[in-house]
Subunit: 335 residues, 2 copies
DNA sequence: TTGTAGGCGTTATCAA
DNA sequence: TTGATAACGCCTACAA
């Protein structure tokens, strides 16, 4: 059906080898070059990437594995990854694992079997074993958003600890002393780091942590909702709350609305991640903003660099800065 | 590096052909079967999909092209598409075109060149020509969310007209007579259909349309914001507004917040698409809900069906129903 | 049931 | 600069 190199060869009277050389940027007589180009146009010839892949052992494809498709944080990162990759001639095979660590392994293997040239993954479970296996086979692999203990490979992270530190410090310097936190689960890297920031800033300001103000959610909407309710039902509720991811922020706002909590008079709130959300709630929410574009770009560029064989400063560990976007959801209690 | 059929053949003492037959479900002596399975395990053999693809002319890959990655409506559909495809052994190459009709063509060609076995696309621009080209080549192609004039192929749509009809009717039956609409651009299929529903229900209720209540946005946050402001700055503002997509709904809410418009007392509001948003605004928003899961499933199944060669009732046109989720953002003006 | 051999569309080596 | 030819790993008649 589709034209092959053979056809181009016939059309031009040249050999297959010559056409192939032309296609791969080799030198060809000016005269022949024109002829070949004419043939390619006339026959609407396109290189068969599959055949080429068989020969070169490259698929020009990067596998990207994320926890969940319905999560703007992840998809925004993916979007930026894809931007960079496609500019470099690579395509993206995208999978999510629906936050299921079994599925995570399955999909990871799926990508490996697809013979992608590299993998970018936002990991969750103990997939470290699988990953080490692949690293041995020398397939470039980049971890994003979450580090994996005991796995030596390129990792792109956000400075979660300081993100938390700055957010909570913002509250402390405005006179808050009872600050609740809605934190994520223990098995997720970012949750742990974000909690650490909360703890550290308390230490630095010589404030004792009231454990009952630390509520553990599951990083989903429902648990944000539940945790906020728990906080407000305490005998002495906090004057401020810091919520450590986007979904839980949504849930918390739902609870705030239902309980008719006045923000920031009854409660000051700092949430996470979504600029739009920050503006559609009333009053506009102070939030921690992660550099999603950058994360994607760095991840993609890292994988490309490794594919090209550039192993300089491997394994690299990049920590990107967050920003605290200040709006009107925090009350200044001083004076 | 990786084991090939040849290696398995050597290991077992059988021929390549026999191994291949085993791999493709052919009959092999029980004895040999065991031997082969042992070899596969021992050598950690995996079929080379690329080589197989070269032979079978299949990549077991579906291309999915959406307007924008940062849009929950699209990504949710993609998520469901991917679910179905992976269960059937297919992987998904995902691209977005950032709402840019030039990029749309480019990425479409990119997918074609990748020799995907089928394409699912949420189209925007006049990509009809390209698509017809592909249809001639018999590559299965499914249109989602938006029909394309003059292009005969499988199409999965939402019943936009009735979605609008029901939403606006909901307002009318509660006594609203001046109902604003924030509609999308002329060149987008869903915008046109949603506007039609607005017009038709006015006709059916013998209500004349005040053209100044029809505001045209660009389906983005900014234009929702702008249009709502325009509506509220009218000499006689509407008592209700219907906003025809998710992003514009966000923008409209931002404007509502900033202007301190009381919902539903000053203005009744019906928005679009996002369940979470509906609950984090106050009061909870009445919205049109689209069946995103279904859309994705139907799209994926359709493409798979065509790939299998089942061309029954081609081209198929599926219209899925929306639902009006009623919350507290609409005021009953009667009595 | 099993094996032989040719071919899928490229790339790459080595002569010419 | 060009061309003949052997791979790449798999599938598939066809023959044994």
């Amino acid at each position: 059906m589709a034209a092959t190199i053979k056809d181009v060869a016939k059309y031009t009277g040249l050999s297959i080898a010559t056409i192939s050389k032309y296609l791969n940027g080799g030198n060809v007589l000016e005269e022949n070059r024109k002829l070949i180009e004419e043939a390619i146009r006339a026959l609407d010839f396109k290189v068969n990437e599959i055949a080429r892949g068989l020969k070169t052992n490259k698929t020009m494809t990067i596998g990207v594995l994320i926890p969940d498709f319905n999560n703007l944080f992840f998809t925004t990162i993916v979007s930026n990854i894809e931007n960079v990759l496609i500019k470099n001639g690579y395509s993206t095979i995208l999978c999510d694992y629906k936050n299921d660590i079994e599925l995570e392994k399955e999909k990871f293997n799926f990508l490996v079997n697809k013979q992608v040239d590299g993998i970018i993954i936002i990991p969750q479970g103990d997939i470290g074993g699988y990953i080490k296996e692949q690293l041995k086979k020398n397939i470039p692999l980049v971890l994003v958003d979450r580090a994996l203990e005991d796995v030596e490979c390129d990792t792109i992270l956000v400075d979660n600890m300081n993100a938390s530190y700055n957010a909570v410090e913002h509250l402390i310097t405005r006179g808050h002393r009872r600050i609740g936190i809605i934190r994520g689960p223990d098995n997720i890297f970012t949750s742990i780091e974000r909690l650490k920031g909360y703890i550290r800033v308390h230490k630095d300001y010589s404030m004792k942590i009231d454990e009952s103000l630390v509520k553990k959610g599951d990083n989903d909407v429902e648990s944000g909702y539940r945790c906020l309710n728990e906080l407000m039902e305490m005998d002495v509720p906090p004057t401020a709350v810091y919520i450590t991811n986007y979904e839980m922020t949504l849930g918390a706002i739902m609870a705030i609305n239902e309980r008719n909590v006045k923000v920031p008079d009854d409660l000051s709130v700092i949430g996470f991640d979504n600029l739009h959300i920050a503006r559609i709630v009333k009053p506009p929410l102070t939030i921690v903003v992660q550099p999603m574009e950058q994360i994607g770009e760095v991840a993609a560029n890292t994988v490309l660099k490794r594919i090209k064989g550039d192993m300089s400063n491997y394994p690299s560990m990049v920590r990107l800065k967050t920003e605290l976007m200040i709006n009107q959801s925090v009350k200044d209690l001083r004076g």
